[in-house]
Amino acid sequence: MNGCGRREFLGRLAALAAVPTGLQVQDSLAGRGDVGTLRDPYSAGQPREVTRIEDYDERIKAIEHRLACNCGCTLDVFTCRTTDFTCTYSPKLHREVVAMDKAGKSAQEILDAFVAEYGEKALMAPKPEGFNLWGYLLPGSLILAAGAGLFAFVSRRRVVVAAAGTEAPGAQPSGTSSTATPEELERLRQALAEVED
């Protein structure tokens, strides 16, 4: 541990802090891990910073899952910054979230601050209020309305048919046949009872 830099120290601190959530860093091979230099750093993608505790803090992660990255990737901030490693927007947005969190803002206050700064598109899903309610409620409402309408239609029709004392046009009497004898029917019913109803 001697001579470790600030970034390394923060990284280890971050890892140690993960212990209570079931994650822990061990240093079982300490002293054997020479850190070599890459021959071609450019081909390994953008230079990365050492992971800090706030980079995978569950609370921060939950907030970032609700915020959209504005690089055009259609992903949320957490997923983008841990997936599209060429994006420069999501790391910046992450730093903003962390800064607001450190300033003591609640999750909702952070989300509101993002909406105030970037507009409603900063949220992964629009707030269920005003016009947006149409978005959330219309599909379910239409399905319910169609289901209820179907139910009402069939129920009313059955009443009409019952009152008329007739079968529906084209319908044949169920359970009877002009070609089968009662014995055949009984035999078939027994056989078919095994495979159908």
Partner: protein, 677 residues
């Protein structure tokens, strides 16, 4: 070769226009030579487009970088498999591929359709030729794959690294085949409307085509999920991205059709609805193409954006107006032969199943378009991402899963209380036992619990159906269990293949529920350092960073980060995740470095490792470690679903229906066939 390709495109266009014009004019009636010329033009279109495709393939294979398309999507050092698949990697090539496959399907429809539907074929040829002509026209005037550059570059740009994946050699063609084959059922529907042959004949003529289309869409969607999972690197497989949604829409309506068509066959109901579904499915397939190509909605899957999208929008509008107007004019001739008798019947269950499938389709479409609508109405840009879609669609999806179990068990026409008791006691018990087990094990995620409990119920219904069928065969024919099981499926492939499809669907839901328990973390590790991650199944993974090695491969410089994996103290070997910097044959970088994830897949969970990059150009690596539960089951569910679909459409085994079979008296069917559908 480009001249030959251009010429072939023009020939295909002229033949397509000729075929469509003669077919729709109706002059072919009573004139055999004109009738022959229509189908001849269909075959000729296919031949011309095959020549055009071969010309482009030759350009790709011979690295003719003077062709703009070849220079844009290939390079000299691109692996040969991807050179072949580059035909559909870009906008212009994929349009040619689309037109080629459509003309092939159109020719097959002319060749393979039984002669009893011959009256429909000229109109079918007219519709397929019109659609093919549209695609060729779009190519010639807006996206010509044979366009030449003013100079010849020494090397091409190469293929987007995300498309350099074996899945991308299969996934787009499968999805295209699904989209394209929808045109054939649509053509038969229009032909039935035009010729006023509105009995069930057209439905029987398209049965195989609808299944083929549904199968290709299913394979394409599943492969798309697999590609997103292994290639995009975000640790998931479905993000409700507009392009993903666009592929789901026709699949949903086609699934609805495959159910509702049974009601028309057996009861003579839902004729208008079925025609509407087929028309809607075709329009949704065009809508998907529009979404993919227009760039009107941002998507991680769009590799082919241009103004061509608006050609599709216009085509969508025109074909929608024409098709629905035609349906409207035939409306009175499409009355149901019987009416629904009871809400407690299989017809009603299928109706609700259709309602939910179309409801989900509407909901997905609504969510996909809602950002545009919001901007139009409020002037505010919004993002509609997974939280929205999950909130709206998961409850509908669970209802649909429940109906997957209810539909096949409930009686036609009207179910009695005794029928319901007899059919549902065991499956409901299976669902309740699953529910109790999950709650007892401490699971608390509501939607995951509901999905798994309903999966238990549906599994109960399917097992019960197979068990009863096998038992009946054993009693009636004295067969052994394996023989009875095999013959049960073989004699009634449609019914039991359908059950296998349902098994695939319920496995999907089980796999989906697993993602509620996903675990992920980031870590920065020097060689030799380790991190531990707890899985939802209670396993402890110890992940030790071994170092980063760099080497050159055929068309890329690879930085490979290796991790030693131990699970519960036992070594599981090494896993590698890579950064790839693709280069052209002059070693010049072509794209931004891409990421290749490392995946160790198991029945319980996948360990998913992503190398994010290095600190200060050293071997100190930043990783994202993810544990994705039950993902393996998604791929297995896809396999079962497709296998069930193949069983359903396999020739023979069932009756070749030439007239409506009515479910008014099941015993009559049993008397004739011995087996019942």
């Amino acid at each position: 070769m480009t001249l030959l390709g251009q010429f072939a495109l023009w020939v295909a266009l002229l033949l397509g226009v000729w075929s469509a014009a003669v077919a729709f004019s109706g002059r072919w009636q009573g004139r055999e030579e004109l009738r022959g010329s229509i189908s001849g033009a269909v075959y000729g279109t296919f031949a011309a487009l095959a020549v055009a495709a071969l010309a482009l393939w030759k350009g790709l294979v011979t690295h003719d970088f003077n062709i703009e398309y070849v220079a844009a999507y290939t390079s000299r050092n691109l692996p040969s498999g991807y050179i072949v698949s580059a035909l559909w990697a870009g906008q212009k090539g994929s349009l040619l591929f689309w037109a080629l496959v459509l003309s092939l399907f159109a020719s097959l429809a002319q060749l393979l359709t039984p002669r009893r539907y011959a009256a429909l074929l000229p109109y079918v040829a007219g519709v397929t030729s019109a659609v093919t002509a549209f695609f060729v026209c779009t190519m010639i005037f807006a996206a010509n794959p044979f366009e030449r550059l003013a100079f010849t570059p020494a090397d091409g740009r190469g293929l987007n690294p995300q498309l350099q994946n074996p899945g991308m050699m299969i996934h787009p063609p499968m999805l295209y085949l699904g989209y394209i084959s929808i045109t054939i059922p649509f053509a038969f529907a229009v032909a039935a409307l035009l010729s006023r042959s509105l009995d069930t004949g057209w439905i029987h003529a398209i049965r195989k085509w609808t299944l083929v289309s549904w199968l290709f869409l299913s394979i394409g969607i599943t492969l798309g999920m697999w590609w997103a999972y292994v290639e995009l690197g975000w640790g998931g497989y479905w993000a409700w991205d507009p392009v993903e949604n666009a592929s789901l829409l026709p699949w949903l309506t086609m699934t609805a059709f495959l159910h509702s068509v049974m009601i028309q066959e057996k009861r003579g109901m839902l004729k208008r609805w079925n025609l509407g579904l087929i028309i809607g499915t075709f329009l949704l397939s065009i809508f998907g193409t529009f979404i993919t190509r227009s760039g009107v909605i941002a998507s991680v899957h769009s590799f082919t954006q241009s103004n061509v999208g608006y050609f599709f929008l216009a085509f969508l509008a025109v074909s929608g107006i024409l098709a629905f107007t035609l349906l409207y004019t035939r409306w009175p001739s499409l009355r149901a032969e019987v009416q629904l008798d009871s809400m407690l019947s299989r017809e009603a269950a299928f109706l609700f199943n259709n309602l939910l499938l179309v409801g989900v389709a509407f909901s997905v479409l609504w969510g996909t378009l809602f950002p545009i609508l919001s901007e139009l109405v409020k002037g505010t840009k919004i993002t509609v991402g997974p939280p929205f879609f999950n909130r709206v669609n998961i409850p509908i999806g669970l209802l649909l899963l429940a109906l997957t179990g209810v539909g096949p068990l409930i009686a036609w026409r009207k179910a009695s209380a005794a029928n319901l008791r007899r059919q549902f006691t065991a499956p409901v018990a299976a669902g309740l036992v699953t529910l109790t087990g999950l709650l007892a094990s401490g699971m608390r995620d509501f939607y995951a619990i509901m999905a798994l409990a309903l999966a238990g119920f549906v599994a109960g219904t399917i097992v019960q159906e197979f068990w009863r069928g096998v038992r009946a065969r054993r009693r009636m024919h004295g067969e052994s269990v394996p023989l009875a099981f095999t013959r049960l499926i073989g004699r009634n492939r449609r019914r039991y293949g359908g059950y296998l499809v349902h098994v695939g669907v319920l496995i999907y839901f089980v796999a989906f529920s697993g993602m509620a328990f996903k675990r992920e973390m980031e870590a920065t590790l020097k060689p030799g350092q380790s991190v531990q991650l707890q899985s939802p199944f209670g396993h402890t993974y110890t992940l030790t960073h071994m170092g980063v090695s760099q080497f050159e491969a055929l068309n890329r410089v690879v930085s490979a980060a290796t991790v030693s994996v131990m699970r519960d103290g036992k070594s599981e070997g090494l896993m590698t995740s890579e950064k790839r910097q693709h280069v052209d044959s002059f070693k010049r970088p072509t794209f931004e470095p891409s990421t290749e994830v490392g995946i160790r897949s198991g029945l319980q969970e996948d360990l998913y490792i992503t190398y994010a990059g290095s600190v200060n150009g050293t071997e100190e690596a930043v990783y994202r470690f993810t544990i994705n539960p039950l993902v393996w089951w998604l791929w297995f569910g896809g396999f079962v679903l497709v296998f069930g679909g193949v069983v359903t459409m396999w020739p023979g085994g069932g009756q070749t229906v030439t007239s409506p079979r009515r479910a008014v008296a099941g015993y009559e069917v049993a008397l004739v066939g011995g087996d019942r559908e």
